[in-house]
């Protein structure tokens, strides 16, 4: 199923990066459209909501800037691309190549993240110009750990969407199932509010879902807020270990149902 080696991966990344550069203006607009955390920061600070969770204005602004960064490098859209490709029969040529087509989508996402990088930096610089008190330089260790947790967050989201994408072998419109996940992802991931601000009884079950490990955990790591490092990484790895075999099985069953429509 997975015949990936270094040469295949680097060539895939190079080609997809060249392809993504063709869409650089579009990607810049996507990067700008990801500034929800800054709106949320404004709502939080202008209403002094941060006092209730004992987080200073500075720490909160760092949290939301980190959330912006994590979101930029973990955003996933594979379900929409795969659905279109499967319904129109575009994946047919890829299915008979000795490489799982999902690696193409994976490389597309990584290439897109690399293309987004300069735009994200530019937005961060503007943010620092407007909020100079928020400027901070995380330690190298924390920075690397937060990069790792952001990548794991991306993997979790990629696997969730890939499983849903495989459902289009049965339902044809799998993206509507993905939309069901949009609300919990938006509210429970930490994009609108740090999970720490949730009531205790809610938090106790939120932490067993994958959502807080998508934005909240990596953003807390990067911004230097208190967070349980071991529990965070352990939950990310557990979720990947649970989702990966589900994806493999769904893919295997789904391709048996594939009818190569439109081709």
């Amino acid at each position: 199923m997975f015949n990936l080696n270094k040469n295949k991966l680097t060539t895939l990344l190079k080609v997809q990066y060249s392809n993504m550069l063709e869409y650089r203006v579009e990607i810049a607009l996507w990067a700008i459209s990801g500034i929800i955390p800054f709106f949320m920061l404004n709502i939080w600070t202008s209403n002094n909501l941060n006092e209730s969770i004992n987080l200073s204005n500075v720490m909160l602004s760092r949290y939301f800037l980190s959330a912006f960064f994590v979101r930029q490098f973990s955003v996933v859209w594979v379900v929409f691309t795969f659905e279109e490709d499967a319904l129109l029969g575009k994946i047919s040529p890829y299915l008979i190549q000795p490489l799982n087509p999902f690696f193409r989508y994976f490389a597309q996402h990584i290439a897109e993240q690399i293309t987004r990088f300069p735009f994200a930096i530019l937005i961060a610089l503007i943010f620092f110009l407007l909020n100079p008190e928020s400027i901070w330089i995380p330690s190298l260790g924390l920075f690397l750990l937060s990069c790792l947790s952001t990548f794991l967050s991306f993997l979790i989201q990629f696997l969730i969407q890939s499983i849903i994408a495989c459902l289009c072998f049965w339902t044809e419109k799998a993206s509507s199932i993905e939309r069901l996940l949009f609300i919990p992802t938006l509210f429970l991931s930490g994009l609108l509010a740090p999970v720490i601000s949730f009531p205790e009884y809610v938090k106790s079950w939120i932490y067993i879902t994958p959502f807080p490990y998508l934005i909240d955990f990596p953003a807390n790591l990067l911004s230097g807020n208190n967070t349980n490092l071991i529990a965070g990484f352990a939950m990310q790895i557990i979720w990947i270990s649970v989702l990966f075999p589900i994806f493999k099985k769904t893919w295997s069953l789904g391709t048996k149902k594939y009818t190569a429509m439109g081709s």
Binding site: N3, N5, N7, K8, T11, L12, V15, S18, N19, E22, Y23, G89, K90, S92, P93, Y94, L95, I96, Q97, P98, L99, T255, K256, Y258, T259, A260, S263
Partner: protein, 329 residues
């Protein structure tokens, strides 16, 4: 040459297809209760194809030709039956099997739309574990054969349909497959591009001894490439054998164009009991049975004053078109 590279026994394939009646009533009914029908698109297909053979699959739209190719290349699962392609079960999609085959669909493309074809070629080379220097050699050779050296660095979206098809072919052949599945490869191409593509396929087959399974609605593709044809009608094989034998079998007639010296001779000839296919002043085309050709020609030459005479086969398109809708050939 004698080795069977493709073996299919009792192959069947059925699909569940939902239907919906038009209008609001039909829409509401479809929303609450989907009506699905199980349609058997292939029924007990048996065939063997030898290494190096070029086989044409003939049939009307929806006959099941493309479904057979899709099953043979491992794209879709069969519902019943046994099959082996290059010694593998296609639907298992083992790496070594996939490196042996390629599928080219006239209406589908694998090249990356916004990048020059060269990028897709290098990507495919990496996917098939071909090193860069070898890939360069193969691209050079194939692009030379296909005459697309100048188009290699132009974005795919800027190429003409013919140039794109050639680039698709190069991308699909970079790993030197032993078996080519071609589903209407000349679809939409102009006459010159069709001819070039056919010429290329002939050379490729000769040089590599590759097996080619081809579907096409352009009879010229079939007649110039395939010695053997398989006719399919509603999911069943109705004929499997040599193309010339099929043409003889289903078309036991010949057309004779007779140019008479005078209008009077033409009039008399047209009234003498022959089957008249065409009449234009002094020119008359009659259709006769192949086994009576000697007798008929003698009769015409002795009885009528003629200027010239031509013996023709009826157009292949006409003959094949007639058999596509027949249950038995």
């Amino acid at each position: 040459m004698d080795e069977n590279i493709i073996q299919v026994t009792n192959l069947s394939k059925s699909f569940d297809i939902s239907s919906k009646k038009p209008g609001l009533k039909g829409t509401l009914k479809h929303f609450f209760k989907r009506e699905t029908k199980n349609i058997e698109v292939l029924k007990n297909i048996n065939l063997k194809i030898k290494r190096g053979e070029i086989v044409g699959f003939l049939g009307a739209n929806g006959a099941g030709k493309t479904t057979i190719l899709k099953i043979l290349c491992g794209l879709i699962y069969p519902s019943k039956g046994n099959l082996a392609v290059a010694g593998y079960l296609p639907y298992k999609r083992k790496s070594n099997f996939l490196k042996n085959i390629t599928l080219i669909m006239g209406q589908k493309q694998q090249l990356i739309w916004d990048l020059p074809p060269m990028e897709s070629f290098y990507l495919n080379a990496a996917i098939y574990d071909i090193n860069k220097s070898e890939a360069k050699k193969r691209i050079k050779k194939l692009s030379n054969m296909l005459e697309i050296e100048k188009e290699l660095y132009i974005p795919v979206r800027k190429l003409s349909l013919g140039q794109r098809m050639k680039a698709e072919l190069l991308a699909a052949l970079i790993h030197k497959p032993n078996i080519l599945f071609l589903d209407e490869p000349t679809l939409g191409l102009d006459i010159n591009a069709q001819r070039n593509l056919r010429k290329f396929l002939q050379i490729y087959n000769k040089e590599t001894n590759a097996t080619i399974c081809l579907t096409s609605h352009y009879m010229k593709d079939i007649t110039s490439l395939c010695k053997r044809v398989i006719c399919i009608h509603e999911g069943c094989i109705t004929y499997d054998g040599k193309l010339d034998k099929l043409l003889k079998k289903i078309s036991p007639v010949k057309d004779i164009l007779i140019i008479c010296k005078t209008d009077k001779d033409a009039q008399e000839l047209s009234k003498s009991g022959f089957i008249i296919k065409n009449k234009n002043q002094k020119e008359i085309t009659i259709t006769i049975k192949k086994d009576s050709i000697k007798f008929t020609l003698n009769e015409i030459i002795n009885k009528f004053d003629i200027e010239d005479l031509y013996i023709n086969e009826p157009p292949v398109d006409e003959i094949i078109g007639n058999i596509l809708v027949k249950e038995k050939v």
